[in-house]
Amino acid sequence: MIPLGALSFLGIDSVVASRSKARMACELICGDRVAAARFGTAVSVLARGLRSSCDSGQIELALENRGAKWVIVLTFPAFKLESVPEALAEFIEFQGSHAPGEAIATAYFGIHGACASDERTVAEVRAVLLQRSRDELMSDLTASNAELRKSIEDLQRTTTAKERMEGELTIGRDIQMSMLPEDFDAYSHRTEFLIHAALHPAREVGGDFYDFFLIGEERLCICVGDVSGKGVPAALFMAMTKTLIKSRATNDVSPASILTHVNDELGHSNDSCMFVTVWLGILDLNTGKLRFTNAGHNPPFLLHEEDPPRRLAELHGPIVAAVPGMTYGESEQEMTRGDRLLVYTDGITEAMNEKGHLYGEEPLVDCLKGGPAAVKGMVDDVVSRVWEFQGKAEQADDITVMALSFAGASDPATMGVLEFRIASRLEEIAVVLERFQEFAADNGVEDKVRRTTAMAFDELLNNVISYAFVDGPDDAEHSIGVRFDLTPTRLVLTVEDEGVPFNPFAHVSPDTSLPIAERKIGGLGIHLVESMMDETHYTRKIDRNIVTVVKFLNQGEGPIESE
């Protein structure tokens, strides 16, 4: 038996191609075009029948000499009987099974007359059978092109979608991180305290947050929170919580009252049933009194001298946003010079190692006992020990740590406060300046600070009296609150009025480089205040404008520790 090659019967193109290939092969062998046409038709009908019967396969062709007679032997997979009977009529013999999958079947096509079985003819026949028809090639090409295009498109689509998502998450992370105060030197001029914090989200964005800011001159507000869940939903809730706390805290000095308010706000429109644990403390920098509210949060640790770390264990209500209408309580704790406070989230105590063990509170306490005294050192040490414990295990939750150290209450002898009200008339400025000069003399304020501050007072009051009231200046109906605060490091002026919202610092600086003929005086006063005082602040509180300007003093104690 001389094998000739095979014909695929899969695909419509293969069936069509099998007819012409079979016809050509047969004609090469017997030279009989009629027989070849019959053979071609029979093969294509067989192929079509097999296609509907079998999942895969091909028809193998061979040439066999049976004594004086030659036959073309077709070998193919077994098939369902009903699918090929008409084709079988052309074959002189058929052997094999009709049951698909069981065996192969064989059919014989008899050749009348001479048969070319020489090597050259057989080679030609093989070439014919091997040849892929133009249609087949075309369809292959089209198919592979389409496939290629589709996979490129798919790739592009998924890449773009993934990139966009990743890009948005990165932006989300940046926005979230930028919501957290990261400049721990922002209050470096405040010698009363030092603060440091770190937050490591488990995913791109997370639900932990911390915050610290001054409320007025005397109070430092610090808070740490942990929103249920992780990822984008937690991040959104975190942003809301942090913003609500801060905006409330500027008009409120009670942690209980702040959280009661925030709880109501968050709880009333909380369809997704999220919640947040919060520890919020407000430290009076003059007295060292720390008032705090713990709403379902991990108790922080207070480190006092060489005493073992003490948990501030008091709880004042449930997690925030769960039960609107709740009233939270608060506790008070005295902090003295050198006392430190560590506030953290459960990402620390519930950090898990590769064996599935939790970090717990004890290692944290141990870490605090012998750890560094400086706030940054404390934070870094706590975090790095957790990393160490965690090993190669994936970080399960956001990790947040904040450390505060208090430099001690101010000595009342070095402090001065003077507060009074004046009528909104320009002549009253003279009264304020006279009282200020007395205040400065009584408290030994150095000349340069005194002069600059007097100048600033003149400018600010002139500004307020001239612009804050719609009725214009010299309206005896209105009064202005004036306050001087002297601490060992700062002289603070506060001017408070009930006029229209007016931020004196929201203006364009005058061009101080113009020649004399073109110079105008407008805006110059505020420019001088901004240039010569160390800090200027404006806040609108409900119905009042509050302007605060600060001049640093070159005296007083330095920070209690250096970083």
Binding site: K448, R451, T452, A454, D458, R519, G525
Partner: protein, 110 residues
């Protein structure tokens, strides 16, 4: 606020004492305006005894300098304390008025 006026040669020397601010500026303005209408052309403002100056005071100085400049006169200032000097620098007045260390320096070539 007190102003002492002395004529040295052709120069009108005005010595300031106290503060030049919102409440004292109008009085100073009145006195200086009177000097200008009396024909003062060159004026030296001596700030040796001036404690501080605010923008209301700067306004008087600018007005004076413009008035004198219009009649080919000039305003010079001298003896600024550290704070007044800073106000002058911050406001750009150091570059639009002649600023001198003391009266003697200011009178040279006036």
């Amino acid at each position: 606020m007190q102003l002492t006026i002395e004529r040295i040669d052709d120069v009108c020397v005005v010595r300031f004492e106290g503060n030049l601010d919102t409440n004292t500026a109008p009085e100073a303005e009145e006195k200086i305006a009177a000097l200008i209408s009396d024909g003062a052309g060159r004026m030296l403002a001596d700030f040796r005894a001036l404690d501080y100056i605010s923008s209301a005071g700067l306004r008087i100085l600018l007005w004076t300098a413009k008035q004198l400049g219009a009649s080919n006169g000039e305003l010079r200032v001298c003896s600024l304390n550290e704070t007044v000097r800073e106000v002058f620098d911050m406001s750009g007045f150091s570059s639009i008025l002649g600023v001198y260390d003391n009266e003697d320096e200011a009178m040279k070539g006036f």
